[in-house]
């Protein structure tokens, strides 16, 4: 994946999030405060616009720009968390100009670790990590099994989707949803749902399907 592929990822992610903002907000209204879709749409739109103007010439620079934009513009819990994820991923890529399947795997892992450290959540707490964790694992398993980037990211997206489904029976222990305790059982986590969109955007772009 080269710099323009990463730009394409962000663009596709912004599009998917805008298209699904209402659903994300609806999920957040059920167990949070009903702004996740609004927050992320604002954040990713800003990131996409900032990228258009920025001279990010490496994949790492693209991801770091996105991270900073998300932190600056999103607000809420998801802004700093996703922002940190993108920044850590960008840092992991350093100056590399062409990202291979292994390198992308380490970037995804860095994103996971950054979010995990900042939010102090664990898998099973009903957060975005419950989609991102399985995605990273599935990616690495696929990569180790010899998959190319398209294959590994498809595996990641599918795993994220399964992870999202698994958040339904979970009881939220982090973020705003944790105030509801038992009442969160039976609902998808909005952050896990948005992670699915990010992974799906990545798979779409690497499969060469994105516009």
């Amino acid at each position: 994946m080269d710099t323009s592929a990463f730009r394409a990822w962000v663009h596709e992610a912004a599009r998917l999030i805008a298209d699904n903002a209402e659903n994300l907000t609806r999920l957040d209204a059920a167990i949070g405060d009903g702004d996740h879709g609004v927050n992320l749409r604002r954040g990713f739109q800003a990131a996409d616009e900032m990228l258009d103007k920025a001279e990010a010439e490496t994949p790492g620079a693209v991801l770091q720009t996105v991270g900073r934009a998300l932190i600056s513009k999103t607000g809420g819990a998801s802004g700093p968390l996703y922002g940190t994820g993108f920044r850590q991923a960008g840092k992991a890529l350093a100056d590399v100009t062409e990202v291979d399947v292994a390198k992308l795997g380490s970037a995804l892992e860095a994103a996971f670790n950054g979010i995990q450290q900042l939010g102090a959540a664990h898998e099973g707490d009903k957060t975005m990590l419950d989609a991102l964790g399985p995605a990273v694992t599935a990616y690495q398993v696929a990569a180790e099994g010899g998959a190319d980037i398209a294959g590994a990211t498809r595996a990641a997206a599918e795993a994220a989707e399964r992870g999202l489904a698994e958040t339904v029976p979970m009881l939220a222990r982090k973020g705003r949803a944790s105030y509801l305790g038992e009442r969160t059982i039976g609902h998808e986590d909005p952050g896990a749902a948005s992670t699915v969109l990010l992974m799906r955007a990545l798979a779409t772009v690497t499969a060469g399907e994105a516009p």
Partner: protein, 328 residues
């Protein structure tokens, strides 16, 4: 959704423009989105912030004896690190800056990032976390208690301490003491509608109330049936008492959530005073009114703080802000 706004996306900007026009003595930075006074050389700067929709909190508490800056996020959405950093820099008078943070994951993370960035720039920043809402079980397995009415007390009292020259560590310490001594509990009679979504946060039946509600329309501990002001005050005070025995000298706030008329808050305050006196406690200071609201939600929250002579003195110290004014 019927609201006195121009467009959902413009609410915060328009409100800030109006606030700026109404309070020409304060500075409203529309670009970086903060309201400030000062800086005051040699004084610890106090910065708070959080989602909008809780007015007068926090912008209405900027002024002599209270905050130096407030950073409003979008409605019910934490502010972002950039604006917190800009405000932190703007009010630094050389004695460091204290962040007063309500305990919501979003607020905590955004303030934390701002503090790190400010630290990178050589500023001294401390923070005080407010988590006074007993409706939420405090557990290491949750995000912990929410910050609600106690925030008003922390901002007022730390404001007085800072004005008197307390240093950063001392300001942080008094802030933590106020938080430790404060507890809140809220009850909603109706829900609210976020302009951006146009839909109510939750639904309440004609005779239902939400007991232990949060200030963002987060549903509470349980759903109950409408009853008298006296019983509602009792439920709130019992919940507080179970967590922090109510005795001695108390500061009490009966706070309207935004859609409840003042006459009803007086009725609630009568019930609160009756309850506390019957338990042998003494209300030495009080606030009755809308101080930390939740858009147009009907209902109220009750906040109690156990007083000390020192805290009483700081409470009584002069304050001159849009929403809280006394002394000189």
């Amino acid at each position: 959704m019927k609201k006195l706004i121009n467009a959902p996306d413009d609410v915060l900007t328009d409100a800030l423009v109006g606030f700026a026009a109404a309070y020409p003595d304060l500075t409203v930075n529309l670009e970086d989105r903060y309201i400030s006074r000062g800086p005051t050389a040699g004084k610890v700067g106090l910065v708070s912030g959080g989602g909008s929709g809780h007015e007068p909190l926090h912008g209405g508490f900027v002024g002599f004896g209270m905050l130096d800056a407030a950073c409003p996020g979008e409605v019910f959405t934490s502010p972002v690190p950039d604006q917190l950093l800009a405000a932190t820099k703007a009010v630094d008078g050389g004695a460091g800056v204290l962040h007063i943070v309500k305990n919501y994951t979003g607020d905590v993370l955004n303030f934390q990032m701002a503090a790190e960035l400010a630290g990178d720039d050589g500023l001294q920043v401390e923070s005080v976390l407010v988590n006074d809402d007993v409706a939420v079980e405090n557990s290491t397995y949750t995000a912990g208690r929410r910050g609600t009415g106690g925030t008003v007390f922390v901002e007022k009292i730390v404001g007085a301490a800072a004005e008197r020259g307390a240093d950063l560590a001392a300001c942080a310490a008094v802030g933590r003491e106020v938080n430790d001594r404060s507890r809140s509990f809220g009850v909603a009679l109706s829900t609210n509608v976020i302009p951006a979504t146009g839909k109510p946060g939750f639904e309440l039946g004609d005779t239902e109330i939400e007991i232990g509600v949060g200030i963002h329309g987060e549903p509470g501990r349980s759903r109950g049936q409408m009853t008298t002001a006296r019983e509602i005050a009792g439920v709130a005070l019992e919940a507080i008492h179970a967590d922090m025995p109510l005795s001695g000298d108390l500061l009490v706030m009966v706070n309207g959530l935004g859609g409840t008329p003042l006459i009803e808050l007086y009725v609630v305050y009568a019930a609160v005073a009756e309850f506390l006196e019957s338990r042998g406690a003494t209300i030495t200071r009080n606030l009755v009114g809308n101080y930390i609201t939740s858009l147009e939600m009907a209902g109220c929250s009750i906040t109690v703080m156990r007083m000390t002579p020192e805290l009483t003195e700081l409470w009584d110290a002069p304050v001159q802000t849009p929403a809280l004014r006394w002394g000189r």
